[in-house]
């Protein structure tokens, strides 16, 4: 089977549509993962043992099971108990929850890397717990974790094709549908690979820049 450039240009607009949804899902998923991860990290540090244990186990469970099955669970099981979600929303929740358990570890490491002296200084300055977190710990903990977080967001981007399994019309699904319409698989699937490679390589460049900019802690 030969490569057909006319066919490539013909299907390009459809694929671009898919790319847009893929990027949208990645961005929304990243935001959710960043929030969920912070929540998990804070809950696991909580002095309330029951809370920190439960959240720890739940996070462990989510990290040990496949994203695809979790997506099925959210998309097919939740409607049984009356929660009906549009595919994209279900997908974003799945991505956000799954990667939130990974980013939680990044937050944990980041928070633990803030020197003890900072906590003691905050106490000495008579800051409340809330003030300590918002003014002292978080501002110092976040910059060094940015490269690691970005790394997970790139990983998430590469997992978005899974959303096609719950009927989100992202890049992979668009490619599959044009492939099935014209019965040509070579161009669509190769193009999907090329799109992913191109966007990943760009994001690797961005990641390197982030590492240079934030990777080391200014002292």
């Amino acid at each position: 089977m030969d490569w057909d450039w006319n066919f490539v240009w013909q299907i390009m607009p459809t694929l671009i549509q898919g790319v847009k949804i893929t990027i949208l899902a990645t961005l929304l998923g990243s935001v959710l993962a960043a929030i969920v991860g912070l929540g998990i990290a804070l809950a696991r540090r909580s002095p309330n043992k029951a809370l920190s244990r439960t959240v720890g186990w739940a996070a462990e469970f989510i990290r040990g099971t496949p994203l695809l099955v979790q997506l099925y669970f959210i998309f097919y099981v939740l409607p049984d108990i009356g929660i009906l979600l549009p595919p994209l929303v279900a997908g974003v929740i799945g991505l956000g929850l799954h990667y939130g358990t990974y980013t939680a570890e990044v937050y944990r490491a980041g928070i633990e890397n803030v020197p003890r002296g900072q906590w003691e200084a905050a106490k000495a300055c008579n800051l409340s717990a809330r003030q300590t977190w918002t003014h002292i710990i978080i501002p110092q903990a976040i910059p060094p974790m940015i490269p690691a977080l970005a790394n997970y967001f790139i990983a998430m981007f590469k997992e978005t094709p899974l959303l096609s399994a719950i009927t989100v019309l992202e890049l992979m699904n668009q490619a599959k549908s044009v492939a099935n319409t014209y019965y040509r698989y070579l161009e669509p699937i190769t193009l999907v690979g090329a799109f992913f490679l191109a966007i990943s390589l760009c994001s690797v460049v961005l990641l390197r820049w982030l590492e240079r900019r934030y990777g080391k802690i200014e002292r």
């Binding site: 040990g64 496949p66 099955v69 099925y72 097919y76 899974l162 698989y185 699937i189 390589l201």
Partner: protein, 219 residues
């Protein structure tokens, strides 16, 4: 009341396929990891370039796309693969690329003095690697290899989309036949989690065994 015992047989069959895939994929990944990881440390430019291209390509594109490529596009150039072969190939090559970086990092983490000791003992490059560097580096790699194996286990769920009857696929079958979504998906989530726990437990005990002879060597 649904007859669950028959369906449970289906799930067990799926679990066997998943375990098979994980084992075979891990073996391929391990081979590729050492080939590419050591290739990146080679003195020959060609080997380094090949290994880097392999790693960047397989880490840059999504496992999902690689699997579809192996299953739908490779037959067009005359390479007919069964779903199982395509699955093992894609999973092994993908996870192998991630693990190759682990191999490289671990070998590089071994102190300079070990390399100098090899030269002092008049060991060849290969001898030094085989008898001095790798036994120590392997211990460094093991925990991350365990994580990679769990990633591979989770990635096996994707093969259900190329009609290979693994756990996720069988859960879909049960769902289609019984109309019940909650039970099959909850069951397979728990099975995946148990498999992941087994892997991390196995790797940890292997680590303890391997570390036994090296007491006092590592700081």
């Amino acid at each position: 009341m649904t007859q669950w015992s028959g369906y449970f047989g289906l799930i067990v069959q799926g679990a066997i396929v998943t375990i098979e895939l994980t084992l075979m994929g891990s073996v391929l990944a391990l081979i590729m990891a050492f080939l590419a990881g050591l290739g990146r440390l080679s003195r020959l430019f060609l080997l380094r370039a090949l290994a880097t291209a392999y790693i960047e390509f397989f880490r840059g594109t999504s496992i999902f796309v690689q699997l579809f490529f192996a299953y739908f596009v490779l037959p067009l150039i005359g390479l007919e693969l069964t779903p199982l072969q395509a699955g093992v190939l894609a999973l092994g090559l993908n996870v192998g690329a991630y693990a190759a970086e682990v191999v490289r990092g671990a070998v590089q983490s071994i102190g300079r003095e070990q390399h100098e000791a090899c030269i002092a003992l008049n060991l060849g490059r290969w001898q030094g690697l085989r008898h001095v560097i790798l036994p120590q580096a392997f211990l460094v790699m093991l925990p991350t290899f365990g994580n990679n194996a769990i990633e591979l286990l989770k990635a096996t769920s994707v093969v259900s989309l190329i009609s290979l009857a693994d756990l996720t696929f069988q859960a879909q079958v049960v769902r289609a036949q019984t109309g019940n979504t909650m039970v099959p998906f909850a069951t397979i989530l728990v099975i995946y989690f148990i498999l992941a726990l087994l892997i991390s437990w196995g790797v940890r005990s292997l680590e303890r065994r391997m570390a036994r002879g090296l007491d006092g060597v590592r700081v």
